[in-house]
Amino acid sequence: MKSLEDLKRIREQAQAQIKLRTQEANTKIIVGMGTCGIAAGARETLMAILDELSKRNIQDVVVTQTGCVGLCEYEPLVNVVKPGQPKITYMKVTPERARQIVASHIVNDQIINEWVLSTEEGA
């Protein structure tokens, strides 16, 4: 694997097996990327989430960002929104926590209550 051209070839070969992510995907992971979030480590948190999704070959999740929501002391903040479930906001999400959130909440539907900052019904 030396270039993007190599990668393009791999993608074309695998395309039939790939379920592309769309805006209608079932689950959203939203990372706070305001100045406070970035200063608290949100970039590394986001990279850990993407890495874990990649390793687990999870496709039906949209990862996106939001700005500062005024809860700077709890950054990095990560929201998980699953259809039919309350929006869960996790606080102080280190890369290690982020990987566990993907494994537990995204994959196994188990909320990690210890790290939950807030729960918002009807999100």
Partner: protein
């Protein structure tokens, strides 16, 4: 201040994207002979009028409604002042904003450039509708990135590891082990 200049770059680029930009151009020039590092982030967002521009370095000014402080630009301003550098911000409503930061390379308080690849991947993956370009010049060498090159892969997490590998290897070859 943040630990890495690449985090400041991420923050400034995010500001532009939140201001409606669909294109963010980042340039880093490292001129060792002049002991000068120049970082330029240009976006085509909604821009700012002169009234906002006059206040933007004030840490207690923000256009956001969710908080009462706006730290991003004031961090850069503080960094420029601390290191004897310079921060210029040009903005035109409806056209966009350019943030230009000059820092002396040798100043002990200048943060390292840091993990610029993570910044570029982060910006590209979470803003798939925005074109992110990056050019880094080190004397006569140039390294560049354009999110349009990887656009086809941005919706497929399974290839992220390969994208990272290609970008890190390419950048590593460019810097030749010289961390700035």
């Amino acid at each position: 201040m943040m630990e890495e200049l690449s985090l400041h770059i991420l923050d400034i680029a995010e500001n532009g994207i939140n201001a409606g930009a669909n294109c963010v151009e980042i340039e880093v020039d490292i001129e060792k002979s002049k002991d000068l590092m120049t970082i330029k982030v240009r976006d085509n967002g909604k821009g700012m009028d002169s009234e906002i521009l006059d206040k933007i370095r004030d840490p207690f000014f923000t256009t956001r409604t969710t908080r009462k402080v706006g730290l991003g630009v004031s961090f850069l301003d503080e960094l420029a002042e601390l290191t004897g550098g310079r921060l210029d911000i040009d903005s035109t409503p409806g056209i966009g904003t350019t943030v230009r930061l000059e820092l002396p390379i040798s100043h002990p308080d200048r943060p390292p450039l840091g993990d610029i690849i993570s910044t570029l991947i982060t910006l590209s993956m979470i803003n798939t509708e925005v074109r992110i370009t990056y050019v880094e010049r080190r004397d006569d060498k140039v390294w560049s990135f354009d999110s349009d090159q990887i656009k086809d892969f941005l919706t497929d997490y399974s290839l992220l590891g390969k994208i990272k590998e290609i970008l890190y290897n390419s950048y590593k070859d460019f810097i030749g082990g010289e961390l700035i």
